[in-house]
């Protein structure tokens, strides 16, 4: 397991849990990162607040890779602008592309995401596009220079789990980049299941932010993700289409 690295854009990570930082107190970030064992944390870019002196960066432990998202972008052009601003903020060249036209379901605009991926990959960004799981789009993202593909499991913030399971499995089977399941994972068991399927990593935010005890839930997700990864590497046992198969020796006794 020690050699089992997650590689994104040439960068190696031991943790397969990408942590969101939205919707909870900055004061909980350090504990969340520690208990999640996370090495990557997502951030958003917003208009700076003149009155607020506190910066979220002060709460993120050293050595953690920052993954700014382009939330708020409605098209490729806006996503590119946000990504450039994020890089100018001086915390590396990772970017999670998030482009949404619709604020009710917050579904990613796959076509605009492909365009933004191509532009930003050409500018040297490590591009991690959030997308609706569609094999053709995933292939276009690969060709556009994406460093990973981040399909949604169910609508953002819904905690509904692997609604798109079949289609994520197709991406895992066909796409030669890390498939990182993002959005909608609400429980550790769902994260574990996605990892058993062969997902490279899990991104979660709301599942933690809305949990009763955030750091404890971060720890639960960490264990679930590690368990799922081990199960995937071990190779799951087969499922019978019908009937049963005894686990005990079939030599009879107590009868003739």
């Amino acid at each position: 397991m020690n050699n089992d690295k997650l590689i994104i854009g040439g960068h190696e990570f031991n943790s397969r849990f990408i942590l969101g930082s939205g919707k909870y107190s900055m004061k909980l970030i350090e504990a969340a990162v520690k208990d999640a064992g996370a090495e990557i944390i997502t951030l958003a870019v917003r208009r700076a607040n003149t009155k607020e002196q506190e910066s979220i960066l002060d709460y993120i432990p050293e050595g953690i890779t920052l993954l700014p998202n382009t939330s708020g972008a409605r098209n490729a052009e806006e996503a590119v602008r946000i990504a450039r601003l994020a890089r100018e903020l001086g915390c590396g060249n990772f970017v999670k592309i998030e482009i949404m036209r619709d604020s009710k379901y917050l579904l990613p605009d796959n076509q605009e995401t492909i365009k933004a991926t191509e532009i930003l990959a050409n500018e040297g960004f490590v591009v991690m596009p959030y997308m609706y799981p569609d094999l053709n789009v995933a292939r276009d993202l690969v060709n556009a220079g994406a460093a990973s593909v981040m399909p949604l499991a169910s609508p953002i913030g819904s905690n509904k789990g692997l609604a798109t399971k079949e289609f994520i499995q197709i991406l895992i089977d066909e796409i030669d980049l890390p498939i990182i399941v993002d959005a909608g994972i609400g429980r550790p068991s769902q994260a574990c299941e996605a990892m058993e399927m062969g997902a490279a990593a899990i991104m979660a935010n709301t599942a933690l932010a809305t949990a009763g005890d955030l750091p404890m839930m971060a720890s639960a997700f960490k264990n679930a993700i590690e368990a799922g990864r081990k199960a995937y590497l071990a190779g799951l046992g087969r499922v019978l289409t019908r009937g049963a198969s005894a686990s005990d020796p079939l030599t009879g006794f107590l009868r003739d």
Partner: protein, 64 residues
């Protein structure tokens, strides 16, 4: 007038560095975009805001 983060301000003629000095922004924790283009930090003292400019001053916040 110069539009900064959506607000019209009477700062035309000032450099970005001069404008920032009148705010509480932490220069280390912001990025500036002027008319759609990034302004690198080193250019803040030389970039003069002009009437009609549109400027965005951004920083990181929590997000997923």
């Amino acid at each position: 007038m110069v539009k900064i983060n959506g607000e019209k301000l009477d700062v035309a003629g000032k450099t970005i560095a001069e404008y920032l000095a009148t705010t509480k922004y932490d220069p280390k924790r912001i990025a500036v975009e002027r008319n759609g283009d990034i302004v690198p930090k080193a250019q803040y003292p030389d970039t003069v805001l002009e009437d009609g400019d549109s400027v965005e001053v951004v920083s990181f916040v929590g997000g997923g």
